[in-house]
């Protein structure tokens, strides 16, 4: 199911980066006095959908983050804390009790109740509704009954309303980090007004979504132009510091960049590649960077004989100068990676691959020859994602440092590449990218490296690794879970089924008219923090 996440990254490498807040205050130009009556203008692309369970790209999710308030948000250590929820508790990691805070109302005046969550999640999980984010509910008991052409049920058996402000979620198997999932867009509630009949979304809801968040819609969604929201006065949570937000729709980032330069737009979430080298001069301290959740790796088809020896894989890793490539090809818009999880999740440790991450051509060559690595290496990638430059650079390094022949092989699309890999055709090493679904180490390990992981394309299978992941999922506390996951990551470091290469980074900028600009874990501007300058 998560193939899309990989694919999205490949198609629009700069548009989908998710990111972590830059801790502390944002804008350097934050000297001006804050103006609570002003609106700010933020760049987005045309959202695909504005229904929580159908929104899985960053533009739609940015708009929804204004209209809805999540159950949990993440603190500076990337751990979840309650926002719209009063408490989220479980004794066995299987049955979770979610208590809602009192006082929340939808923008049409409806009181937010447990039923609103249950209805919205049932709608999202029901396969015939074709919701893009429905797989977020797959851990909930009864999900399978809602799948297929004619599902046998239309509500999740794992969702039970207890009273107006309490409901329970039963998972099909224990999962210690369920709470961390709940900060995602898919888990917002829907008002009664969103449905024209039970389980049927009202026509036109998407054009002016009604949420329970700090902002409400001002008018309707003006396609290809803008979505405007204004402060919702009855919002009981943390108040935003601006009167409204105009999400302005751009087709090309370069246009948005020109607007930021001339103060016609306040925030651009991704500086276009062609402007990266000049952004620091153009914007000064209004150009900012923060770590993002994406991880770029080179994967080995471990089922192929020539790559089955871990020493071969280690040697190749040691022959790559990551710093050189991030500097010369990516102009420091990405960071060298030496771990299997991104720095944006709790439990991240630097340099878990150890010696395999040290650039050492002499050692690499000796190890490579001793292990009998192949004399010709192919690096496969998708030709539509702007990967040619770094693949070629990596190839040149391998040629020079290992004395092997190396060629890059472009497949038209990432899906074509995956089809070949799945059919076990000899494509050589291939590139992969990963964008997390929710901030958890498990999300970086389970789908990618467990024996039956949905995106395990390299044929990696390690029973001990699988066991550690299962123990992590049923661990009594988050901290214990993290310990198990870290032990699992250490196993990966020994086997090295993929070589971590680079972490993504948010490269954003803002105009002189705003301050305290922060971009959060899901590549959204933090709308509660941003301030307009008088």
């Amino acid at each position: 199911m998560r193939v899309r996440r990989l694919a999205a990254w490949t198609a629009l490498p700069l548009a989908v980066t998710l990111g972590l807040v830059a801790c502390g205050s944002g804008g350097g130009s934050g000297s001006g006095e804050s103006d609570p009556n002003a609106a700010v203008r933020i760049e987005i692309a045309e959202p695909q959908h504005l229904v929580p369970t159908n929104t899985n790209e960053t533009s739609g999710s940015q708009v929804l983050s204004a209209l809805f308030s999540p159950l949990v948000d993440y603190d500076e250590a990337n751990k979840p804390h309650e926002v719209a929820a009063e408490s989220i508790t479980s004794e066995d990691n299987t049955t979770w009790t979610i208590k809602l805070k009192d006082g929340y109302t939808f923008h049409n005046g409806e009181k937010v109740t447990a039923e609103n969550y249950v209805d919205a999640w049932n709608y999202g999980a029901y396969a015939p509704n074709g919701q893009n984010s429905s797989y977020f509910f797959e851990k909930i008991a009864g999900y399978d009954d809602l799948q297929g052409e004619k599902p046998s049920a239309n509500t999740l058996s794992g969702l039970k309303k207890v009273d107006d402000l309490t409901f329970t979620v039963t998972l099909s198997e224990p999962y210690s980090e369920f709470k961390a999932m709940l900060g995602y867009t898919a888990f917002y509630p829907l008002p009664k007004a969103a449905f024209s009949a039970p389980g049927v979304l009202a026509e036109g809801y998407e054009q002016a979504p009604i949420g329970q968040g700090p902002f409400k819609m001002k008018g309707t969604w003006q396609h290809d132009a803008k979505v405007e929201v204004e402060k919702y006065d009855a919002f009981p949570g943390e108040q935003p510091k601006v009167a409204g937000v105009e999400f302005r729709i751009y087709q090309q980032l370069t246009a948005a960049y020109a607007d930021v330069l001339s103060d016609n737009l306040d925030v651009i979430k991704t500086i276009p590649t062609e402007n990266l080298s000049t952004a620091a001069t153009d914007l000064g301290d209004r150009f900012q960077q923060s770590p993002a959740s994406t991880l770029q790796v080179l994967a080995f088809p471990t089922f192929q004989k020539e790559f089955s020896n871990p020493d071969v894989r280690k040697a190749i890793s040691m022959a790559i100068d990551r710093e050189e490539i991030t500097r010369s090809i990516f102009k420091d818009s990405q960071q060298p990676a030496r771990s299997f999880v991104s720095p944006v999740v709790a439990g991240y440790r630097e340099n878990t691959i150890g010696a395999a991450g040290e650039f050492d051509p002499a050692k690499a060559k000796a190890l490579y020859q001793a292990a009998g690595g192949p004399s010709k290496i192919t690096l496969s990638y998708n030709g539509d994602g702007g990967h040619k430059d770094w693949i070629d650079a990596t190839c040149n390094q391998l040629k020079a440092n290992l004395g092997v022949d190396c060629v890059g092989n472009a497949e038209p699309k990432f899906a074509d590449l995956l089809t070949k890999v799945k059919a076990k055709q000899p494509v050589g090493l291939f590139r992969m990218g990963w964008v997390m679904d929710y901030p958890s180490m498990e999300n970086y390990l389970g789908p990618l490296y467990s024996s039956n992981g949905s995106s395990n394309y390299y044929g990696y299978s390690n029973p001990e690794f699988d066991k550690l992941l299962a123990e992590g999922a049923s661990a009594a506390s988050e901290d214990e879970a993290i310990k198990k996951y870290q032990a699992a990551e250490d196993l990966l470091a020994e086997d090295l089924p993929v070589i971590p290469l680079r972490y993504g980074q948010n490269n954003f900028g803002h105009s002189t008219k705003v301050k305290n600009v922060e971009v959060d874990l899901f590549d959204r501007v933090n709308l509660l923090k941003i301030e307009a300058v008088k």
Binding site: A127, Y135, Q147, Q252, A256, A415
Partner: protein
Amino acid sequence: MFRFIVRRLLQMVVAFFGTTLIVYALMFAGQGDPIQALAGERPVTAAQRAYLTEKYHLDATGIGGFFYRYFDYISNLLRGNLGESLTGRSIGDILADAWPVTIKLALIAIAVAVIFGVTAGVLAGIRRASIFDNATLLLTLLVLGIPTIVLAPLAQYFLGVKWQLFPPTSGANPDFYALLLPGIVLGSLSLATALRLTRTSVAENLRADYVRTARSKGLPRRRVISVHVLRNSLIPVITFLGVEVGNLMSGAIITEGVFNIPGVGFNLFRGIRTEDGPLVVGIVSVLVVVYLVSNLVVDILYAVLDPRIRYE
């Protein structure tokens, strides 16, 4: 004349089917899994798969199935139903939103080309080999040599960002002033071509026998140029501008993208970028009709402008 128009209309029908068939085939037939192609790179659930199979008649396979689907699409198209984009918006609505701004932009571009291009062309033609003539030659060569993809961002950077003479982007519901810069950029290529065409045509006609006759009859120079020379010289220019209008109506992918104008080209580009097959095919089908009609109008204009040009 009537027979000519009828014959052209019949040709248009053939051209319409030919081009839409090619576009449809390129977008959908070459893909291994047409359902996956329809859904882009998103995962397709079993339920979506069944829904799309039914909606697009994918149960019929092979060449026969392809033509079945194509004719189904065309019959919807002829009834004015352009279908829905993958995000569920009606393509008819998208085009209705996009066209007004594209047409405004095209009109500005054409006006720029006519006002500056034709005037300067006439002057250059009259004062052949003067400094003005040589200067315009150099300038137009420069403009023709710079692709829009370079010209548009440069104009935006210098005139919009650096010197702040124009708004750097137009955005939704732009006013005339906001569209002026993109209009000039878009029109500059037509301007240069129109200028060269007018200049050559005027210079040539000035040496024609009928001009010498008019002069020897003692007509004032102004009258010779404005009545005799100009009318004859504008025929190729108007033909060119007619075709250009058709071109501009189909939207300018680059210019609309650079200046963030939500017109037809902007939507077409989005369709291509997000692999929205139905959106691309829908827009292109309509553009085919626009091109065919504008070409027909140009052909008819030939006859209207120059009575010597007769169709049979």
